[in-house]
């Protein structure tokens, strides 16, 4: 199809845009866990939940988790449920963890059956409004992992990468040129920092970098970075903190 098109176009004019472009894409969906049958009680509970945060689910892609659901084996039931949900402006597009019968029914009702996936806490789903407390929303997945601080008591050598993916990173030694230290939270270096330090990599703009002696190749907080070349010659070098002020990365002395 694509080849034919381009051949066809070649005779007339140069094709500037490819007719079809395919890109893989990851995105986050909200999983709605259904426990029990999809009856009036469920819809009433859903309405109740939606009243608490009216904007939260609006237009968010939504998957129905049928692991603990009862019934919903027929196309009619699922189509009806989807219709009810769309009436509440919930953009349901698929199901997960369903039985073979439920999957077949979903396919007939125009819903796709997803092969699993990974749960993340809801606050990572980038919506402007936060979810209500967990006890008010038993159907929404919410298991925030405890923040984990990593402590390294050896020098971090050139070529090594240390990553604290869920919390702060503390390095009790020098960080060599060519080494990389990365944290979701703050970074503390009790030694000379010569390598690259990236704090708040998940987008936490309040993250900071603290270090005894600063000689870094690159500093970054929440994706905003400066290299040693554009840090300037007159920044403080001893006992400093690095933080974001608006859109600007600042190096300040620790008082």
């Amino acid at each position: 199809m694509q080849i034919q098109d381009s051949k066809h176009l070649a005779g007339q004019k140069l094709a500037t845009v490819k007719p079809v472009q395919i890109r893989g894409r990851f995105f986050t969906a909200i999983a709605l866990h259904l426990t029990g049958p999809a009856d009036r009680d469920f819809l009433a509970a859903l309405d109740d939940r939606l009243r608490q945060t009216p904007l939260f689910f609006e237009n968010a892609p939504l998957v129905l988790d049928l692991e603990k659901a009862q019934g919903l084996e027929s196309e009619r039931d699922l189509a009806l449920l989807a219709k009810e949900m769309r009436a509440r402006r919930l953009s349901i597009f698929g199901i997960q963890n369903g039985t073979a019968g439920q999957a077949a029914a979903a396919a007939a009702a125009g819903l796709i059956s997803l092969p699993g996936g990974r749960n993340v806490p809801l606050d990572r789903v980038n919506r402007p409004e936060r979810a209500a407390p967990a006890q008010a929303a038993p159907e929404v997945e919410k298991e925030a992992p405890p923040p984990a601080t990593r402590l390294i008591d050896q020098p971090v050598r050139s070529g090594q990468t240390v990553f604290a993916d869920r919390g702060d990173l503390i390095i009790m030694g020098p960080v060599s040129s060519g080494a990389e230290i990365i944290a979701a939270g703050n970074i503390h270096v009790y030694g000379r920092l010569r390598g690259r330090a990236l704090a708040g990599v998940n987008g936490d703009t309040s993250a900071r970098i603290f270090c005894h002696s600063l000689d870094a190749e690159l500093l970054a907080i929440a994706g905003l970075y400066r290299t040693s070349e554009n840090l300037g010659p007159d920044i403080p070098r001893e006992h400093v903190q690095v933080c974001l002020e608006g859109e600007k990365l600042r190096v300040l002395p620790l008082k």
Partner: protein, 271 residues
């Protein structure tokens, strides 16, 4: 208890093979039964530095592949009774090395020798990795120059994570710094990194400082380990370093540059 010591650096041309030869000769001079193994498969040099290139029949790779016995491949040094060389193959490449093969050879050598010196190839790939993998200790050879220091730092990271001891959780391989081709005058004038700068970056104990010396190249060309020349400053520095390697407390002398002859001084400062 025998010790496997790897001589490594990351960067090429800093003096790994020269240092391996000098250290193993120095250990043998002290009466320790020592073997030095060339891990630089395909770029065989150690046998030349040791002056035994004409006597190579079987090599390390033949032993690993079972084509020869270890006894057949070991070359006994003509000058020192306790010194043996295990040369490598010039015709094969690093893929001929296997973890199991290296382990089997080292285990057999451990039964007979006090010290097993592994002369690592440059780089951090297979040859260098296998040279350091079973090491108990490491001598990191570094020149006082930024790229050499950075590469040594990288190698120290690998020694702490990619070796048998590290993988078994028995802690890092004990690593010591051998600073080679050091010129005190150029260091003092800021042309070269100072000992303190290098130590600050690498943060490991200093095993020795080998001064830049013309005798090193001469010894290499003649096939004599530098430490056999006890009169040269470099030879003395290697002998001191070997003493520290076996646990002696020897004061670190930053060797004064080689004294120039009266005539040379008269003729001016060009060296």
């Amino acid at each position: 208890m025998s010790k496997v010591i790897v001589v490594t650096s990351g960067k090429g041309g800093v003096g790994k093979t020269t240092s391996s030869a000098a250290i193993s000769a120095g250990l043998a001079m002290r009466g320790h039964k020592t073997v030095v193994i060339d891990f630089d498969v395909g770029l065989r040099n150690l046998d030349m530095i040791m002056g035994c290139e004409r006597r190579v029949v079987f090599d390390f790779i033949n032993v690993i592949q079972g084509d020869a016995k270890l006894k057949q491949a070991l070359i006994k040094d003509r000058r020192l009774e306790n010194l043996f060389v295990l040369p490598t193959s010039q015709t094969r490449d690093k893929d001929a090395l296997t973890k199991e093969g290296v382990k089997a050879v080292l285990d057999e050598l451990r039964e007979e020798f006090d010290y097993i010196i592994c002369d690592s190839p440059a780089g951090i790939e297979r040859g260098a990795h296998l040279a350091m993998y079973y090491a108990d200790e490491a001598v990191v050879v570094t020149n006082p120059e930024v790229s050499s220091v950075r590469d040594s730092d990288r190698v120290l990271g690998l020694l702490n994570s990619k070796t048998f001891h590290a993988e078994k959780g028995e802690g890092a391989v004990k690593s010591q710094l051998l600073l080679t081709r050091f010129d005190p005058q150029r260091s003092a004038s800021g042309e070269m990194m100072s000992v303190e700068d290098v130590l600050e970056i690498l943060a490991i104990p200093l095993l020795g400082i080998i001064p830049e010396s013309t005798t090193v190249l001469k010894a290499s060309n003649e096939g004599t380990p530098v430490s056999l020349d006890e009169k040269s400053p470099a030879g003395k520095a290697y002998i001191d370093a070997v003493g520290r390697l076996v646990g002696e407390q020897i004061e670190m002398r930053v060797n004064p540059a080689e004294r120039r002859g009266f005539l040379q001084r008269l003729l001016g400062r060009t060296a």
